[in-house]
Each structure stands twice: as C-alpha cells, then as structure tokens.
C-alpha cells in the first residue's frame, strides 16, 4: 500500500477528498515538468479552439460550393485551398476536426461511463455476480472489434450517432475491466470497510471514495481511446461507412482525398491527414505523460 492511500485510509470524508485533491495537484506538477506532454496539451487546446472557432475566421461555410473555383491550391483567399467542389478547405478541415473530435470524445466518454457503472457494480459486488458479469465481458471480447463495428454500422445505417453507437457496443469493455480491477483493490481498504460499517450506501461510497481513487488510470485510458475512436471512424470512412454528406469528418476527407495522390491536388489529402496525425500524436503523448505522472510507483 502506498503512503498516500494509507493516509487516506485513516481520514474521514472531507479529509479524504482534500487528500485526493493533493494527489491531483502532485500529478499536475509532475506533468508540468515534462515538456512533451505539456506541448501535446497545448497543441490539443489549440486544435480544439480552431475546431470550434476556425470556420468562423473565413467568410465561407464548410459546405458552400463554388464549382468554378474547384481544386485551387492554398492561397491568400483560401488558406487551405479548395476541394473538388470548390469548397473552402480551411472551413472544411476545422469543421471536420470538430466532427472527428466529437466522435472520439463522445465515444470515449460513453465507453467510460458504461465501463464505470458496469465495472463498478461488478467490482463492488464481487463473488458470483462479479464472476457472471466478467464472463459476459470475456465473451464480447471474443468478437473482433472492427468486424463488429462494420456489421453494426451497416445495421444502423451510417450516421454520426449510429457510428458512435456501433463503436461503444464493445468499446466499454476495457474501461469496465479497468474500473473493476481498481475497485476490487480498493474495496478491501480499511477506510472503505469503515465507511461501509457506519452505513454509507453504495452509490455515495462509489462516487465519493472509490471513483476518485480509480480515476487516474481511467483518465489515461480515455486519452488513448479518443484517438482510437477517431481512427476507427476514419477506417469506416474508407469503407464508405463514414459520416454521410454534407457532414465531413477528417476521416471522410482523407478518404475523399486519397485520389489526389494520383491527380496532384495533394493539399486535399495532406491537410486532413496531417490533422489526424497531429491529433493522434498529441493524444498519445499526453496519455504517455499522464500515465507517468499518475503512476503510483512514482509516488513519493
């Protein structure tokens, strides 16, 4: 048992929260001292800001066509050039990034939510219920992820929410396992046993004590599952199952832009592909940094 949790085990409710806050402050300090994850965080903030505000900086809508102005390279008028229907690539790229980030974040958060509830219940109940619930998770794990996502997207018909839905059908398994493992460990701690002893009920116990202490690894998991979801959507786009027109995600833009490797208007591929890569890199670097910062082994 680490010293932090040992201390937690003996303090009452309010102190426990304060201690948890201290833990996060420590983690943040450790994170700040590392250049790469911090750079990644800054990049992500900039990306999110541009994804929200970027399209507003130009006088074009992401779906406004100008057929006579198609396939123009980047210029002062169109900072990222135009696509094959003469649509402004700057507006498209950022609204595409918005859609991709929305898909990634929503899918990751929903995975987390389901995982927390399912894993929390399984871990807390333990015994027979836990055994059964985890068997079910194992079963779903046996189905190849991409195969299932493709099948479900076909069943639901491609659309923004149906794609997210298809991804979370088995996407929550990882976080459920994670939460359950954490809870299983914490559940036997003295302070939890004590809290139970004085009649604190499960939902409160879960929200106040178990969850905050399991949060570290979960945050790391989310940082990795956002880019995974973005990538999966891109693969679906390649198979023609991405978000339907006139919506465009970075994935559908990359997939539409593949042809430019042969036709020459490479900015139509390089810009969305570059953005995907940047998002992937930033999330991965941030995830690595967070993992190191939150690693209990580095706790002093």
């Amino acid at each position: 048992m680490t010293s932090a949790t040992k201390r937690l085990a003996t303090v009452p409710d309010a102190d426990a929260r304060r201690a948890a806050r201290g833990f996060w402050r420590d983690a943040l300090r450790r994170l700040r001292s590392r250049p790469l994850p911090m750079a990644a965080a800054v990049v992500l903030i900039i990306l999110v800001v541009l994804a929200v505000a970027g399209p507003l900086l130009v006088p074009y809508s992401y779906d406004a066509q100008d057929l006579l102005n198609a396939n123009q390279p980047p210029s002062a008028g169109n900072w990222f050039g135009t696509d094959d229907l003469g649509r402004d690539m700057w507006a498209r790229a950022w609204s595409g990034a918005r859609i991709s980030l929305f898909i990634g974040v929503t899918a990751a958060l929903l995975d987390l939510l389901i995982g927390i509830v399912y894993g929390g219940v399984a871990g807390y109940r333990g015994g027979r219920a836990d055994e059964l619930m985890m068997r079910f998770v194992d079963m779903l794990y046996g189905i190849p992820y991409l195969l299932l996502v493709i099948l479900l997207t076909v069943v639901f018909q491609p659309g923004l929410f149906s794609i997210i839905l298809a991804m979370i059908v088995t996407g929550w398994l990882g976080s459920a396992r994670l939460v359950r493992g954490q809870i299983l460990q914490l559940r036997e701690m003295e302070y939890i046993v004590a809290a139970r002893g004085i009649g604190v009920r499960f939902p409160r116990l879960f929200a106040r004590h178990l969850l905050p202490n399991a949060l570290g690894p979960l945050v790391v998991a989310v940082t990795f599952s956002v880019p995974h979801a973005i990538f999966t959507e891109a693969t679906l786009s390649f198979l023609g199952l991405g978000v339907p027109a006139p919506l465009a995600s970075l994935g559908t833009m990359v997939s539409d832009g593949l042809i430019t490797m042969l036709s020459g208007e490479v900015w139509r591929l390089a810009i969305p592909a570059g953005l995907i890569s940047l998002i992937m890199l930033a999330f991965n670097a941030l995830g690595d940094g967070l993992r190191d910062a939150l690693d209990p082994r580095t706790l002093g």
Binding site: M139, P144, L146, L269, L281
Partner: protein, 309 residues
C-alpha cells in the same frame, strides 16, 4: 492443470455459442434481402431461391439448422457465389491472410525489438530520435494512406515491386510492410521504454560495474526482463494484425479472408458473414488460450492471478 484446461475449453464453447447467436441476430437485423436485386425476378423464382437456401423458414429453425451444421463443421453455402461455399472460401482465403499476417508479425517483432533496443542504448541520440519518429508516425497515419503511398513510391515510380496481384514473394512485400507499420511502431516504443527502465535497475548497474561489455549487459541481462511487457501485448497485437488486414487486403487486391468478409457484409451474404465471424472468433479465442497456457508454463504466478480475475 487438466481441470483448468477443461474449464477453459468449456468457457470457449459457451463464448462461441454466444458469438454465433449474437452475430445471427445482428445479421438478420440488417435491412435488405440478399436475393433482392434490381433485376425483376418473378415471385416463383424468388420463392425457389429462398427455399433452396432455407431462408423461407422461421428464424428459429434457421438458427437451429445453422448450429447443427456448425457441429459438423459445415458453414453452409454462400448466397452469392454459386461455386464457392463458405468452407471453401475460408480454406482458400485463410492461408493467404495467415501468410500475410505472419510475415507482418515477424517483421514488426524483428524490426520493432531491434529499433527499440538500439534506441534505448543510444537514448537521446540520432537513432533514438528516428525511432521515436517512426514510432509515432506509425500509429498516427491510417494504413489506407500508407498503402497507396508505398505503391506509388516503390511500384509505380521506382518499378521495383508489383502494384497488386498476389503470388510471388515480391508481391507480398508492400502489403506486409503496410500491415506491419502500426505494430512495429508500437513494439519499438514499448521496447525502448521497457529497456530504458530495466537499464536503470540496480542489477544492471552491478553488471556494468563488474566490467562486462555493454552489449553483453544489454543482451544477457537487460533484454530478458525488458521483453516481458512485449510478450504480454503479443495477443492484442496478433488480433490487431488479423483484423487490420481487412483494409490492406482490399487495397492490394489480396485473395484473403478479410477482403472476402468486407465484400460479404456489403452484399448481404449471410452465411459468409456468420462463417467468418465464427472463424475469426475461434481463432482469437484459441490464440488467447494458447497465450495463457504459455504464461502458465513460463510463470505459474501469472496463471493463478489470471484464474482469480
């Protein structure tokens, strides 16, 4: 040990049954009838087709029949191809997919481990920087971008390798590389991190202090321990390679099971979809089982821990 194996096998059978049932339900929820095309077939003809393939029967009966066939290892006929049943399609496609997957796995492991170790031994240097670059690019560029790029560079412009057409060894190089990129990057990063961590341990410092040559320390002392995390992710990596080949087989026109499955999904070829789901899942389960058994042999503690969880 025998009891453990028996339990695992029983669990696998139940899991498989669950997967078959789930896929069966999902598949029949897909809108669209496999025999309905633009062509105007008279009702009598459609009825004949449905009767021949048994799709006119109640779903429950179709389900029981399918399970019966499965017990005889018969995955049934394809709705679309009149020459190749599901068993034949898998028998034709799997050796190709397996060869591609195996080549990619070997390449990813060999290069990933090598680069990772080399980078760790020169941490902060040029090689290290290069490795990290490969490691990050490899997981951030979609394979459907890498594939046409490689084709353009090495097949169309340089003319060194064939574009598509599976057959000779040369034709397998580009798809193998494309498929290996992501796991290679992952393995290289993991190996680097893990070797660096091991190198910081006391026993390594001791070895260095005793005056052993650095390479010997790296290979004999650091590597064995550093490899453990790589071994533990072999399972997911293999699964990833297996499924990752969907897109790559499609782009390179490779006659494997991945391409077959994607086509079957779009054409509503139910028996092929079901058959591949069963096949892929069995493969995945068997593989995970084998990995677990291997752990048990290597390190008994792991087995206990796993059977507890």
């Amino acid at each position: 040990m025998t009891r453990y194996i028996l339990r695992r096998v029983a669990a696998m059978v139940v899991t498989l049954w669950f997967i078959v049932s789930a896929t069966f339900v999902i598949m029949h929820a897909i809108p669209g009838d496999p025999f309905v095309t633009e062509a105007r077939l008279p009702e009598t003809v459609l009825a004949n087709l449905r009767a021949y393939y048994g799709t006119d029967r109640p779903l429950g009966e179709q389900y029981v029949r399918y399970l019966g066939g499965l017990l005889r290892l018969d995955l049934g006929p394809s709705f679309k191809s009149d020459t190749l049943g599901v068993n034949e399609q898998i028998a034709l496609g799997f050796p190709v997919s397996a060869q591609l997957g195996l080549q990619a796995l070997v390449l990813a492991l060999a290069l990933g481990l090598g680069l990772g170790m080399f980078a760790a031994s020169r941490a902060g240097g040029l090689v290290d920087g290069f490795t990290m670059l490969v490691g990050t690019l490899g997981i951030s560029v979609p394979s459907f971008v890498v594939a046409p790029l490689l084709i353009d560079l090495f097949a169309v412009r340089a003319g060194w390798l064939p574009v598509a057409a599976w057959g000779s060894f040369a034709s397998t190089i580009l798809p193998t590389v494309t498929l290996a990129v992501a796991p290679l990057a992952y393995i290289a990063r993991l190996t680097r991190a893990s070797v660096l961590e091991t190198l910081g341990q006391d026993y390594i410092r001791t070895a260095h202090a005793k005056g052993q040559p650095p390479l010997r320390v790296l290979v004999h002392h650091a590597l064995p321990n550093a490899l453990i995390p790589v071994v533990t992710i072999l399972g997911p990596i293999t699964a990833g390679i297996l499924v990752g080949s969907f897109v790559i087989e499609f782009i390179f026109g490779i006659p494997g099971t991945g391409r077959m499955l994607v086509r079957a999904i779009f054409e509503r070829d139910y028996p092929v979809i079901l058959g591949s789901a069963v096949f892929y899942s069995t493969l995945l389960l068997a593989f995970n089982f084998a990995v677990d058994l291997a752990y048990g042999v290597i390190d008994p503690r792991i087995r206990v821990e796993r059977s507890m969880s």
